[in-house]
């Protein structure tokens, strides 16, 4: 028997178009899945059952009269609770925003509505997407482990089948890390590719909105629906939007991939992760991609540069609220925001200078070697039990699991280039491992093509977390 919530977004989209399933059936199956899994994983802060069923019925009526809007029409989707939905509470995971009800939709929500998607709920975020507190969300791969953040709810909902895709945001890795932890695909698009209008900011010059999905094609479908210029977002950039599906099956032949070992394969990369990602390189080389060894020493600057910029920008945004509602913040978030106020303007500007150099050297590296992408692990480690997050790693005591987790993701937020995280197996502890592809600005299509070339050979996207069956049952 086909379990609807186990299918990919692309498969269900095709079934909807051919009217082999209705959006109401899909939505009801998703809502039932939410009801069954939520007591364990806590991926949602709000489930919008009535709204979702109304939208689903409207989608069914439109499709029945031949007005199919595209592959997202009638598909149940989750949205991170920092993206405004008109007349619905948006609390960004914080008591400091309790009671806030926006009067308009975020542009990304409007784009999903225009595509006919059925938004089934708002997903859990770390407080204000800062990623320093630990939300109640649990990854189905390991219930006592860190679920990834800050788009934790979006990552878990997609992994467990309580959404076919979800929207997340990424300021330092908050789409890619939960994607990697939960064994799914996550894209941080190019800076300016997807509008952030109506999305609570964290670091205004580093924030990105993007999709989390179970397959590469699903991710391409979602990006297609949400990409585009938006004058309401000061960071939005007017660049043509590619057709992300047209070259998806073109394979890796003719593409050149850079491997930067000093930074991305440093000693902190766990042995299982290293082996899995070396396997990806071998697969893509066998698929006729050209592999080139490269070096970019400026990557070493990424952690200090990003933390300085993000710290200052986040604290600037929260300055007033912090003084009015300090007690409503989680103490860990509040301390981070206080710390950000101690960053001198001179340090902030110096970090923006370092960022300009990093971006320029990255461009030079791509151009000098004719690169289409740089490939690395998404995270040097698999997820870890929450109590061990800040303790020295037994295999690499110089870093804690949480410090390692963010080591590889920061640079793309600084350069603004697109970064795609794709599952590539399980470590010996049974937890997912992923690789990351960094691309040229606005060339998400090539990242999807490379990722799909790998996915075709290794269908990790069909793997489901054991807890789905062990704790919550199927269906």
């Amino acid at each position: 028997m086909t379990v609807l919530t186990e299918l990919s977004l692309a498969e269900t989209g095709d079934m909807l178009r051919k009217r082999r399933v209705s959006s109401r059936e899909l939505t009801e199956a998703t809502l039932a899945r939410i009801e069954r899994t939520e007591p364990v994983v806590h991926a949602y802060v709000q489930v919008l059952a009535d709204r979702a069923l109304r939208v689903a019925d409207a989608a069914d009526r439109e499709i029945a009269r031949g007005s199919w809007r595209g592959a997202l029409h009638g598909i149940p989707i989750g949205v991170k609770d920092i993206c405004y939905m008109r007349d619905l509470p948006n609390e960004a995971g914080s008591r400091a925003m309790a009671g806030f009800v926006p009067g308009y939709d975020a542009t990304v929500v409007r784009a999903l509505d225009d595509a006919g998607a059925v938004i089934v709920g708002k997903t859990v975020t770390h407080e204000f997407a800062y990623g320093v507190n630990v939300p109640p969300t649990r990854t189905p791969w390991c219930l006592e482990c860190y679920p990834g953040g800050s788009s934790a709810g979006s990552g878990v909902a997609v992994a467990i089948g309580s959404a076919f895709g979800a929207i997340g945001t990424d300021t330092g890795g908050s789409i890619r890390i939960p994607a990697a932890v939960n064994g799914i695909v996550g894209l941080k698009p190019t800076y300016g590719r997807v509008s952030r209008h109506g999305v609570v900011p964290l670091g205004t010059s580093l924030d990105h909105v993007g999709p989390l999905t179970r397959t590469v094609a699903d991710n391409a479908i979602m990006l297609q629906a949400i990409a585009g210029y938006d004058a309401a977002d000061g960071g939005s950039i007017y660049e043509p939007v590619d057709d992300y599906l047209i070259a998806l099956e073109s394979g890796a032949r003719g593409l050149t991939i850079g491997i930067e070992r000093p930074y991305f394969f440093y000693d902190g990369v766990a042995a299982d992760v290293r082996a899995a990602v070396e396997g990806v390189i071998a697969t893509l080389e066998a698929a006729s991609a050209t592999i080139v060894e490269v070096e970019l020493p400026e990557l070493d600057w990424s952690p200090e540069t990003l933390m300085t910029i993000m710290g200052a920008e986040a604290s600037a945004f929260h300055r007033r609220r912090l003084r009015e509602r300090a007690a409503d913040y989680d103490p860990a978030t509040r301390r981070s925001l206080e710390m950000g106020e101690f960053i001198p303007a001179t340090h902030y500007l110096m970090a923006q200078q370092a960022r300009a150099v990093l971006k320029s050297r990255m461009a030079n590296l791509f151009n000098a070697h004719g690169l289409d992408a740089i490939l690395s692990p998404t995270s040097p480690v698999t997820t870890a039990p929450i109590p061990e997050l800040n303790a020295p790693r037994p295999d690499y005591p110089a870093e804690s699991p949480i410090l390692s987790a963010i080591h590889h993701t920061f640079s793309a937020n600084l350069t603004g280039q697109p970064a795609l995280s794709v599952p590539c197996g399980l470590a010996s502890n049974g937890l997912p491992v992923s690789f990351q592809l960094l691309g040229r600005p606005f060339d998400e299509a090539t990242l999807f093509r490379l990722a799909r070339a790998y996915e075709r050979e290794h269908a990790w996207s069909t793997l489901r977390p054991p807890e789905v069956y062990g704790v919550m049952g199927n269906g």
Binding site: T190, Y191, R323, E338, M339, E341, M350, A354, R440
Partner: protein, 70 residues
């Protein structure tokens, strides 16, 4: 001239941090001042790696545009 060097970051004690918080208009609870002092010391040490860079004539990425020169 008496500029504080990063090696002198250890001299940043809770009293200095409390005074700085006052200057910023932040009401930091007394019991959290030592924690914040540690953090400020760490911040100064961490920015040392950026301070070592030669950023002469580099314009900061304030109006950020991810596109590369063609």
């Amino acid at each position: 001239m008496g500029y504080v060097k990063f090696s002198d970051a250890a001299e940043i004690d809770p009293a200095i941090v409390k005074a700085l918080a006052l200057l910023l208009g932040l009401a930091v609870p007394d019991d959290e001042v030592p924690v914040l002092s540690d953090v400020v010391r760490g911040q100064l040490a961490s920015v040392q790696s950026l301070d070592a860079l030669d950023l002469t004539d580099v314009m900061p990425a304030l109006e950020f545009d991810p596109r590369w020169e063609r």
